[in-house]
Symmetry: C2
Subunit: 796 residues, 2 copies
């Protein structure tokens, strides 16, 4: 086990002492070591209310085979050895002698687990206080820090007096509020939209979880999650598309101007009149919060807000799958939170309600569509949005449902498209009366999405351009945290890396986390102190704590794919600098052929073997595969040492085919027998991660090695052979005439050990993600005229 920790600050001794005193520890510099030990150790057992109960607890923690912490508190203490101290510390952190570590050698385990220790034995009062401070900021085996663990056992239960207040320790907001007792409120925010064309401003429902302490004058910041799934989803079987059995020959090539979206002009609409004002809502929020990271911060003085946006249950309007109206929906919530927009306690009476409890600072959080809308809102430059923590997010919807002039489904969701997601999230359907009244309007809006998404050509259009948030990065003024899975084939890594590249020059702070998972949150992964980093970050961003978070947190944190529980930190990702090198590999290298051919009949192979998208994705990357005949497998020369790929590989291919159009796919594969990480993180401890005092818990996970495999997908790419220039211009292909394709694969970061090598698979249709043509197409590659360019990281 390695408990990496990036969020621990090491202030100077005087600051440490001052912070300890704030917690109630005795720090008087005139006291001797004996007194400090005797007065402070009992405080580490907040569940014990009486001196006797504390003695009982102290007696359970051994410092060696014969003595416990009780002995320390009853003797004259002039010296505590590191071995004694950490023998006890590990027990306090949740580890067990005999099971986890030898009682007489805790330091080896501390080192192996990457837990910090003091450098010297404790001989002075000051050294004891340093050791105590370090202990409080050290990670337990239950994801939280030791002070957080104490808080879940009641350390702060009597902290609040008549005037509620925050407590910061080691730069982070502490669990001094009561997450159990919340105002759960629903309000309706007036937008500038009229997406259902009824001449009225669309009202947007928002749900607020607000700690009671706000009633006593404390203003709190907000963690806001724009979550289209908040009120549930609809069955989409009826609208999910069958992959087409043909690839269209394109006849209409577009220009850059044609595919540039015009800015939306908001309609001019009357305001809903205000007839009164209320301080409390009149509807109880019956949905629960959905993100443990948000819940974790409730007890630390953050209000959490969820809003699902236009077209969802309780709100007006229709869905647009990433359109401007959904960005505006999220922005409207922030504007209300910061006092720039009105909201009402119900839909009709005009009773206004203000976010009077908000300190005016907002962060957005969420994964996937939720994180996507956080990025979307950030590109508005809305005031009050200080940062977004955007996980596994889409930065351009074309990169979610399309690729280089092809319909390419998100991994795991063959046949999904923008219209499918619109139906999925149109949760107004769940309130039947409302749904029936809206049916004609919604049917029309949905039909427009189905037409505009254009499954025939797969080309980039103005409609997709309006859903490319990267067009507006220059507007961003808030700081950005992104996380993404290096094996996320649902929202593919291109989304986060192109965002990262687009943000590089902006005068904002930005942080990037890349993990070995697929499409998942990373807040409950044991080897990383992600939540704690976000505490440092949010305390800085939303509560003005001068904790140096932007400098403390690494710019780029990447999980290693070979060594478990190992996270690398870098100043940037895949940059064109002297830490990186582009290496071009001629595809004829290592083969005796200059040309190679294959006939793509994968659709038939797929059907004959009753394959599913899931089995196909495993099968197509096997060295010996059902699809041997439907692909080229090119083993690349092995490196003679371990290398790290980092960035965006690309290919330059020279080929001809026997048809006027085709799908071409490439996959870069890590080859060689090895135990690699499995697709899903393993449960370390169900309900092991406490989110507050007497409050919810969640599961602790870790990415872990799975059964050995011969190969694993690193990255891939798809192109329509007619899209030789870009995703909107079409170049006619003449059967038998050679042409050139240049395109990028998904960005990656991969450690390739010296005993493994790369292979490039070139094939036609991708059964899991593209159309599935039934006509057999022959591909002839000119290997000597074709290259793969690999981005290498040369140094840390």
């Amino acid at each position: 086990m390695k408990l990496n920790q990036f969020a621990r600050l090491t202030p100077d001794h005087a600051t440490q002492v001052q912070e300890l005193a704030k917690l109630g520890f005795t720090t008087d510099p005139t006291l001797d070591l004996t007194t400090l030990v005797r007065t402070n150790l009992p405080l580490l057992f907040p569940e014990a209310y009486s001196p006797t109960a504390k003695q009982q607890a102290l007696a359970n923690v051994a410092i060696d085979a014969h003595r416990t912490l009780v002995d320390l508190t009853q003797a004259e203490v002039t010296h505590i050895s590191r071995v004694e101290f950490y023998a006890a510390v590990l027990q306090l952190l949740g580890f067990e002698p005999f099971t986890d570590y030898p009682l007489d050698d805790p330091l080896a385990f501390m080192a192996q687990t990457q837990l910090p220790t003091i450098a010297e034995d404790i001989d002075t009062p000051a050294a004891f206080l340093d050791a105590l401070y370090l202990l409080l900021t050290t990670r337990t085996k239950h994801l939280v820090n030791y002070l957080d663990a104490l808080a879940t056992r009641g350390f702060f239960k009597d902290f609040q007096g008549d005037t509620p207040r925050y407590l910061f320790f080691n730069g982070k907001a502490q669990n001094v509020f009561d997450a159990r007792q919340l105002h759960r409120e629903v309000v309706w925010i007036e937008s500038d939209l009229d997406t259902d064309h009824d001449g009225q401003r669309d009202l947007l429902e928002a749900t607020i979880f607000r700690p009671l302490e706000t009633d006593h004058g404390l203003k709190m910041p907000v963690l806001f999650t724009a979550n289209p799934y908040f009120h549930g989803t609809n069955d989409v079987d009826w609208i999910t598309h069958e992959p087409s059995t043909r690839v269209a020959v394109k006849t209409h090539s577009r220009t850059k101007t044609e595919v540039t979206a015009a800015p939306a002009t908001p309609p001019v609409l009357p305001h809903h009149p205000v007839n009164g004002e209320a301080r409390e809502a009149e509807v109880y929020a019956d949905e629960n919060g959905i993100y443990a990271l948000n819940d974790y911060f409730l007890g630390r003085g953050f209000v959490t807000v969820y809003s699902a946006g236009v077209g969802t249950r309780g709100s007006d309007g229709v869905r647009s799958t990433g359109g401007q109206s959904e960005t505006d929906s999220a922005v409207a919530v922030i504007e209300w939170l910061t006092g720039a927009r009105r909201a009402f306690t119900n839909r009709t009476d005009g009773i206004e309600i203000k976010a009077w409890w908000c300190n005016g600072k907002v962060a957005m959080t969420g994964k996937s569509y939720l994180g996507t809308l956080a990025i979307a809102a950030a590109t508005s430059g809305v005031a009050g949005l200080k940062t977004v923590i955007s996980e596994s997010a889409i930065s351009s919807w074309y990169d979610y449902y399309r690729e280089n002039g092809l319909v390419v489904a998100p991994g795991g969701f063959q046949g999904e498209d923008a219209d499918v997601l619109a139906v999925d999230t149109y949760s107004r359907q769940k309130t039947t009366g409302d749904f029936l009244r809206m049916k004609p309007t919604w049917d029309q809006a949905l039909a427009a999405i189905t037409a505009a998404q254009d499954r025939e050509t797969g080309d980039y259009t103005a409609w997709w351009d309006a859903r490319n948030y990267r067009n507006h990065l220059a507007n961003i003024t808030c700081d950005i945290v992104s996380t993404h899975g290096l094996n996320d084939w649902n929202v593919k890594p291109k989304n986060v890396i192109k965002l990262w590249e687009g943000l590089r020059a902006l005068p904002i702070h930005k942080k990037l986390f890349l993990h070995q998972g697929q499409h998942v949150y990373v807040n409950n992964v044991l080897s990383l102190d992600f939540t704690d980093m976000m505490n440092l970050w949010l305390s800085y961003e939303l509560l003005d704590v001068d904790n140096g978070a932007p400098d403390q947190l690494p710019n780029v944190t990447v999980q290693d794919n070979v060594e478990p529980e190992t996270w690398h930190t870098y100043s940037d990702f895949g940059r064109d600098d002297d830490a990186h090198q582009q290496q071009r590999v001629n595809l004829a290298t290592g083969t005796t052929h200059t040309r190679a051919s294959f006939a793509d009949n994968a659709t038939a192979t797929f059907s004959a073997h009753h394959e599913t998208s899931d089995t196909y994705e495993l099968e197509i990357v096997k060295p010996d595969s059902l699809y041997n005949e439907d692909r080229l497998w090119l083993d690349l020369p092995a490196f003679d040492h371990q290398v790290t790929l980092e960035g965006t590989p690309s290919v330059h291919l020279r080929l001809w085919i026997d048809a006027p159009t085709a799908i071409l796919s490439v996959r870069l594969v890590d080859v060689g027998p090895a135990q690699r990480f499995g697709p899903v993180a393993k449960t370390v401890e169900a309900a092991g991660y406490p989110l507050g005092f007497d409050y919810k818990t969640t599961t602790i996970l870790e990415f872990a090695k799975a059964a050995p495999t011969a190969s694993k997908l690193i990255t891939f790419g798809h192109v329509n052979v007619q899209n030789q220039k870009n995703a909107y211009e079409n170049v006619p292909v003449t059967p038998g005439e050679p042409f050139t394709l240049d395109f990028e694969l998904q960005p990656t970061h991969l450690t390739l050990p010296a005993d493994r090598h790369l292979a490039l698979i070139i094939h036609g249709a991708d059964m899991a993600q593209t159309h599935r043509p039934t006509a057999v197409t022959n591909y002839h590659l000119d290997l000597e005229a074709s290259t793969l360019t690999l981005p290498l990281r040369l140094k840390a």
Copy 2:
């Protein structure tokens, strides 16, 4: 989906009206239908606090394609058709028109889902109130009843005034208390034991979750779970046994007297002195409750208590794996709860604390070891224990770790034994100081368990007899609810069925639930209203509600293994009466042979194929198996119609072998290609089941059909060929000399469709559960002299 419901009472109209009035509904008999509709429908939206918000909510529920509940509340109402009413009711229950049912035909869906409906259209005020009452007691799609769902949305949030009180509706305690705010207390109960031989009475830690309403004079009953795992478990790799490679020839045959346990004599010990008294504990309980059923009842006015017993963290003493000291530990908690025993606020000061908030009535709950201790405590006849809800429980530890003179592991836990479980649950190890002080005592106690369990012979001894709770069933005075999985090969069904048979003649109420799962709780299975039944039961047992629970609940409820979501009810299980018949099948029937032989070399087969216990258990029951040579497969004649097995099959086998001893196993298998239930219930909705107002949620599950298989294990049995009479007497076996074995398989309940048939597999060692002998043994069966007796249920 079928939402079976057994706990709904149908009181007379006057009672229904009276109960509705208690909830705050308008029931004045002088009012007309229009007024009743107008005043009562808005109450179904407790999350809406204002009239406008309620109108908003009413407008979302359609009664047909054009009208909603708002229209009903605004018109003169003289008639509401069943179709209109149930079109709306299904939406209230969480179903969706278009997705789940056609809006214009709700009644077909109601019938299919087994939801109750009123018989006639609503034309009178009385009919409306009847319909309203029925609605409130109808199941939603989220496991709870509709009134419970209203409670989770705040229906009762303002119910409590200055004097806390219970509310019962339809015979069940309602969610009128606040489960979020609890006293979490730890106390130490003084036992009569001294299992660590220090001359002091062992103090037993107990954890209490107590609703704050008890502070205001309300006395509450207790749901008590004796849970040895409550403070965690220890790593047992080092003590888990390797299955032996030989089967011992037994030399010491015991008599009945020798294997009869002497009653334990409690030591005479001084009491811990009492030096004072406190009303509140001085230690906060930092462990969370572990059973959703318990948590569910907190908001309904039940205190929950957990205690782990002797040898667990915080308690004195040593583990005994089901010994008298563990029974006494559980009983001691009940005695304290009912005022018959003292407890202290800490281990040393003598400050007594009474369970002053307890109404003197206790139920025990829990699964596996937990449910086992509930049965153990029941056999003490302790006063105040009114009922136990014992799930998947052991009724004799010999039936858990042994069988017919063999060491037979619990399924999934090859190599586990009593000493392994003792180490596993000796959580004093987690408090290192305490552990070190106790080490010599514990090492000695553990060595005694290892010796006494006797893995050499596997015979029944006085040590095992002391762990056979069925010896003391006559002492039971409380009512018993048992649940058990028909596919539970961990705690095998014999445990519950032999208990059931032993209880049959006792003047207590007893209820039996048999489900298609393995070793699992059944409280969150969607197709059964188990929690609601337990609410009826516990309201009757612990709160003196005169709800007729013993008559309302079926005696025996069995889940069908063919039809999903189908539960049969019976007055008894496997009884020797005219509903049942024993059918004897000669094993030569259907074969052309009168004899059959096999050579058991399964251990070699097992090793050669790198099998695990899990893969072995699937492989051995396949018609064509790796173990073909190591077994006999006897297809039994097919029935020409569907039959139901119910009870305990047995075999009478005539055979000889070429060794002085051997293991013999038989498996009864359901044969024929079919989709059968998978081993694990499927998640219907994660976090879909609300356990109270603004409180925890848990997952909703359902047993569901899995991929088709050719066969599935129904039941099995194992015997040591030397144990021809019973589990303690040994009969020498002479190689080549025939002998007879008569033994029972595990009890079962199985529907066998007419297109499937039974097969009996006869084999030697069971790689997953018995020793794994390496010597090859030859078995020669005299089929004509051998029979299988099948218990059939002939009628309902």
